[in-house]
Amino acid sequence: MLVTFPNMGNVAFAARALCQGLKIPYVMPEKNNKDTLRRGSFYAPEEICLPFKVMLGNFLECIEKGADTILFVGSCGPCRFGEYCELHMKILRRLGYGNVNIVVADFSPEIGIDALRHRIAAISDKSPVGKLEKLKAVKNAMIIEALCDRLDRIAYEMAGYEVNRGTCKRLMYEYKAKILESKEPDETIAMLRGYLRKFGEVKTDLSLDPVKIAIIGEIYTVIDPFSNLYIEEKLMDLGASSSRMLTPTWWVKDLVMKPVKLNSPNINRAARKYMPFPVGGHGKECIGEAVLAAKKGMDGAIQILPLGCMPEVISKAILPSIRRDYSFPFMTLIVDEVTGEAGINTRLEAFLDMLGSIKKRGGSGRKHNLTKMEPAGSLLRRCANEADRKELFFE
């Protein structure tokens, strides 16, 4: 059995660590690239959303390298994501890969907990290690995911304050390359903690007042840098500081807390006025984050969605009202397999210029009271101490 998994930002690192911990042979999907997308969109239905196409590309690449089991997650929400597994299976079968087994971890009462346990057992029974080791592998994978998310967050946010432009980006690339070299999860964790300390040592100037942008929108395109045309890295280059709330760690936390309705209460509370009912996907979260970003005193937000994403289209319809109520600027970026990069760059620069000039003028004349703002760079001061903290699961 040779296991593989789709590549979605840092999730692949965690999945890789999990396989290493369980001592299961695996194929690491290549970093998402044009070829992945080209291959995926060649076989995928025309009107399906971008994540499906990229994932199909991942699968095809890995199957060619010999993978025969695919780890995947599912959902039963009204969003299309829940139907991915069905369609992936049918397409792979049509292409002659009928022997490939897709293991779908579906977190829903529909299939029942037994079926889920059965599916997970199909993987974990192949692992030669003991029960305690298995639990440790899961824990390590989660720690690695949390550390990666934390490092990314620091890098994106710190990029606006760094003295030597490009330091954060270099460090980020460095740690992502080093993860792929490590053989053991423990080794990876030690390395990542080291990088957390290194970020603490980056020379920053807290008196700088960079443009602060919130990245909101559909979770896959927000998390996977290739799908959003490396927008966060482009913002780093342009000297802006960006932040986003949706991370894989958040997703896991959201999933665990959903049955008791304690998932991200702040986001839900903020979104309630504009979207009282959930619309599936992360439409409600998008609205909540936009309101929170406006209240926090950020300068603007960029919404990223794949073409045809139903929940995000509803969010897009509501964003103008938030813009009016909070005078908070938005930009919507719709991505698909033919998105041209030059146009995006131009739009991004124009948006940043506009935000910069609003800032210089002294704000957009917001009438409402801002909630207590996090002082500039407090995250940076915190991060050095956090390097030694053990419980990095959740913020």
Partner: protein, 304 residues
């Protein structure tokens, strides 16, 4: 009190219930006219660009009702069967309408969670709260409306044409003859009878859907998939036309699932959007009908 009912989306399926219920509790109802050019234009003007055509048309209907009624009935369909959903767009329809169309009257936006009796009674009570709080009136009106709705059986099953196609797709595409450019009449003129999914028995749909690895969680998708596969298997029709609207998320999955199951059965997907040119549309229909007829003669030759 005058209640406006927009003639879009699931109106085609449930309008009897809505109209009867509102009339029985003492309201006057006014329905928007069938879709026309000006309604479509209004809809396109108000609706968010990325939404599908039926949503845009619905915005047009709501916009038309402004100033002609005291309240507009826009039920928020969260689901029509337990543990299933309709499209996400239906859950957020009220927000889209209320954030984009100015000067709207009161919106009766009580959510519908399931079409079973108990849940619908709760719906009826809430939806009627602006008119009457008398439980007895509501109950009587509800019973009458349910009775009328159950008597109303939409669906097309043409007989006496040389060929027959099954027309599968959302009701709001099939029964809105403006946005589908008189598809049923055009097919009839080409000598093709039309059969709609309502004529496929419900048990057969369940059986077909059970073959899938994962049961589709969209009620509408379940129906269309089951109907299409059943029609193909039993040869209830000579071909299938799937009427879909551009950027419909559900259709993008369902058409693909049907195609994966399909072998040599004629299957065509017609996409609708606000720019659909009628000439191209007619040409495709012509070609499809020619193909159906040629197949018939070809197979006839094999038999003889």
């Amino acid at each position: 009190m005058i209640i406006g009912i927009p003639q879009g989306l699931l109106y085609a399926k449930y309008h009897v219930f809505a109209t009867t219920f509102m009339k029985e509790i003492g309201a006057k109802t006014v329905a928007s006219p069938t879709t026309n050019k000006s309604i479509l234009d209004e809809g396109v003007r108000y609706c968010v660009d990325e939404a599908c055509l039926p949503m845009k048309v619905y915005h047009g209907h709501v916009a038309w009702l402004r100033g002609k009624c005291d309240a507009v009935l826009i039920p928020r369909f969260m689901s029509i069967r337990p543990k299933e959903h309709i499209c996400p767009m239906f859950c957020g329809l009220i927000e889209m309408v209320s954030n984009h169309i100015p000067d709207l009257p009161l919106l009766i936006d009580t959510p519908v969670y399931s079409l079973n009796r108990d849940r619908m009674l709760i719906w009826a009570k809430y939806a009627a709260r602006f008119l009457t709080k008398d439980q007895k009136t509501v109950d009587a009106a509800f019973d009458k409306a349910i009775m009328r709705q159950n008597d109303y059986k939409p669906g097309i099953n043409d007989e006496g044409f040389p060929a027959k196609v099954a027309l599968i797709g959302h009701v709001y595409n099939i029964y809105d003859s403006f946005i589908n450019m008189n598809l049923v009449k055009k097919l009839n003129a080409l000598g093709i009878g039309v059969l709609t999914g309502e004529y496929v028995p419900g048990d057969a749909i369940e059986d077909e859907v059970r073959q899938l690895y994962k049961k589709p969680f969209w009620s509408l998708a379940r129906e269309y998939y089951g109907a299409a596969v059943y029609i193909r298997k039993t040869k209830m029709a000579d071909g299938i036309i799937y009427l879909s609207s551009f950027s419909c998320g559900i259709d993008s999955i369902i058409t693909e699932l049907i195609k994966c199951e399909n072998d040599e059965f004629p299957f065509m997907v017609l996409k609708l959007d606000e720019h659909t040119g009628e000439a191209g549309y007619d040409t495709r229909l012509d070609a499809f009908s020619d193909m159906l007829k040629r197949r018939k003669t070809k197979f006839a030759r094999y038999v003889s």
